[in-house]
């Protein structure tokens, strides 16, 4: 019994959680065998083992990249590109193979050569130290593949109520966590902008990083309170501190639907990229799901999911939000999103090629049909009754729509799938249908789209990319890629204006929707629904209640009249 004490670090997810300390020490997971006599080592066989471990590691890195891209975004997923660059480092590979040729087993050669590299980076300033983390991550993947050793602690299967303590967490580690089980994270090292901190935020897991060596003295099994708002870790917190912290965390959550001060209802929903994110989204008071990405059902596997699996995943989402709406986006691959077993066309300009609905209507027509069958069956489970609901209302939206013809072709597909299900006697319903507005074309013809559909949802990240003709991935044009450029705001305005006079509502599901500093502008632009990372839901709901919709309209008009991004930021009272 050490008594209550408080350690200080850097808060990185502004939430509080209490749970049982559990140490994660990945380095103890791999025990290297004795070094054999060099004369007994077969260099050819060892080179073979090394080559195959590299491929296993590469697959793992790419899977982690996809998962991070889905959960957090391309920005963070790019760290795994650096991992792959380390894996392919010609100097490192040559050194390892040279050692092997001298009679060293592959795992010892990897361990030795990576140790040299890690040592060079360790103990240097922050960014160099982060490279050491990257190298450790890559080394551990290689060693696990060589020794066929799974990770010591299965991070995806921690017991509920775990507070995970670690020296540091790699991006791969954090992407594995199940937010439903992990009550908090505290690390010895790392900063607020470390990849692990950012991924933890996207999963709404309370986190404090950079606590220092004092954390190392905390024994396994101790009760720990992680206060990500104050940046504190309380060891064996007293009852008062516990209840105060947890009550404070609860208080910021607004479970009920919100309206502006003058009574305009704004739905604040969550973007969800995996089944694990459903319960945190509901805990954070989200009014349903405004973007349920279905790609996770297709990643991390060798073949496509069948109709039943897709149906069950959607029903699980509907059951997590029995009183709300769940907007499912049909498979959105192409562009930068790849799925290995789906043969995607190789194109000179993938972002201007077969993406989203274009694939669904052409090359992936059969896959689209399977997905529509699953969705129409799931729709029968949703809504309808009142008082005794166990599943929310399903809505389905189609990505990368740019033409009315695509909407008409899509509606035909839906109709024919419904007819098939009816003739088979399978219970089904046609859900609300909508289009994502991600292209300038869609915003120009928003009136025609809205006339044929139940809703539109603005995907600001791609819309910004296409309006500004600036690749999201290309740092050289990052300056062009800002949704606050007047051109982008006017494209959003065109969308909401186009839907006026129809029954279609308009939402937004880009990351812009989750910034409380922009809520007033977005309400003023006429959006009915904002969908975002779950962690920002409470702040945006709180902000909505403070806003006067009439004043917001004036603010939006002022922003729309601006000529430059700087003027827009000035109107919004944001720095430069």
């Amino acid at each position: 019994m050490t008594g209550s004490r408080t350690l200080t670090g850097v808060g990185s997810t502004p939430r509080t959680g209490v749970g049982t300390a559990r140490w994660y020490r990945p380095e103890s997971g791999v025990t290297l065998p004795e070094r054999p006599d060099p004369s007994t080592v077969d260099p050819d066989a060892e080179r073979e083992r090394f080559a195959s471990a590299r491929e296993t590691a590469r697959e793992g890195i790419r899977r982690a990249r996809d998962r991070a891209a889905e959960r957090v975004g391309e920005e963070e997923a790019a760290v795994f590109d650096a991992h792959e660059a380390f894996l392919d480092d010609p100097g490192l590979v040559d050194d390892v193979e040279g050692d092997i040729d001298d009679g060293t087993r592959a795992e010892h050669a990897v361990d030795d050569r990576f140790a040299d590299a890690i040592e060079r980076f360790e103990g240097m300033d922050g960014r160099m130290a982060e490279r050491a983390d990257d190298l450790r991550d890559v080394r551990d993947r290689l060693l696990r593949a060589l020794l066929d050793a799974p990770a010591t602690v299965d991070l995806s299967a921690l017991p509920a109520g775990t507070v995970l303590l670690a020296e540091r967490l790699t991006p791969s580690d954090t992407a594995d966590l199940d937010p439903a089980a992990v009550a908090g994270i505290a690390t010895v090292a790392g900063g607020r902008t470390s990849h692990a901190a950012i991924i933890a935020r996207s999963l709404s897991i309370p986190a404090v990083v950079g606590v220092g060596d004092a954390l190392a003295a905390v024994p396994e099994g101790t009760e720990i309170l992680v206060d990500g708002e104050a940046g504190e870790v309380a060891v064996e917190p007293d009852g008062e501190r516990r209840s105060a912290a947890l009550a404070g965390d609860e208080a910021s959550v607004v479970p009920d639907p919100v309206s502006t001060a003058d009574g305009r209802r704004i739905e604040v929903a969550a973007n969800v990229g995996s089944a694990a994110e459903l319960s945190p989204a509901s805990d954070r008071g989200a009014d349903g799901i405004g973007l349920f990405r279905t790609e996770f059902l297709f990643l991390d596997r060798e073949s496509r999911p069948d109709e039943t699996e897709q149906y069950e995943a959607v029903v699980a989402a509907l059951e997590a939000f029995p009183d709300d709406r769940v907007v499912v986006r049909t498979l959105d691959v192409g562009g930068d999103k790849r799925v290995p077993y789906l043969d995607l066309p190789d194109e000179p300009n993938p972002f201007l090629g077969r993406r989203g609905i274009r694939l669904s209507l052409e090359e992936h027509a059969d896959l689209f049909e399977t997905q529509l069958r699953a969705l129409l069956r799931a729709a029968a489970r949703g809504g309808g009754g009142d008082g005794d609901r166990d599943a929310g209302d399903l809505a389905v939206m189609f990505p990368m729509v740019s033409r009315v013809e695509e909407v008409e072709a899509t509606l035909d597909r839906v109709e024919s799938v419904a007819a098939d299900l009816a003739s088979e006697g399978v219970e089904h319903a046609v859900p609300a249908l909508g289009a994502m507005v991600e292209t300038p074309a869609a915003s120009y013809v928003a009136d025609a789209l809205a006339a044929r559909l139940d809703f539109l949802s603005v995907g600001t990240n791609d819309l910004t990319q296409y309006v500004m003709a600036a690749d999201r991935e290309n740092d050289a044009v990052a300056d062009h890629h800002d949704p606050l450029h007047p051109a982008v705001l006017r494209a959003i305005d065109r969308t909401t204006t186009g839907a006026e006079g129809t029954d279609a509502w308009v939402g937004m599901c880009g990351e812009m929707a989750g910034d409380p500093a922009l809520t007033e502008l977005l309400v003023g632009l006429g959006l009915d629904e904002l969908s975002m990372s779950a962690v920002t839901v409470p702040a945006v709901k709180t902000r909505v209640r403070e806003i006067d919709a009439a004043a917001a309209r004036d603010l939006a008009a002022e922003a729309l009249a601006c000529e430059t991004r700087a003027e827009v930021r000035d109107v919004l009272g944001l720095d430069g």
Binding site: L92, T193, A476, H481, E511, A517, T536
Partner: protein, 104 residues
């Protein structure tokens, strides 16, 4: 042939700019090396090695020398110069930063 450029990305030769430099160096039929301009030939390292490039620990605002030999040397230099002289928003988006890319 060679060129001296000032590194503009905020992250210097780290993280994304570094992995992009390595990728770019690998794309061309040319042997590319990079180093601090002030360090002369002794400071040059192979640009196709992530370890070597990040090991330089070049910060934003420093001048680097890029040397390329081979049939596509000049195209490689152009591409790398473009990469190193473009401003990059800080890749570490803060929570709720509207610039944080979310894949939509």
């Amino acid at each position: 042939m060679e060129r001296i450029v000032e590194v503009v990305p905020a992250a210097g030769l780290h993280a994304r700019p570094a992995s992009k430099l390595v990728k770019t160096a690998n794309r061309f039929d040319a042997d590319v090396s990079v180093g601090r301009a002030a360090d002369g030939d002794d400071g040059l390292v192979r640009a196709d090695s992530m370890l070597a490039v990040t090991g330089l620990n070049v910060e934003h605002g420093e001048s680097v020398r890029i040397v390329a030999e081979g049939s596509e040397a000049s195209a490689a230099l152009d591409a790398i110069e473009a990469l190193l002289t473009s401003p990059v928003e800080d890749g570490e988006a803060e929570n709720g930063d509207p610039n944080e890319v979310d894949g939509e």
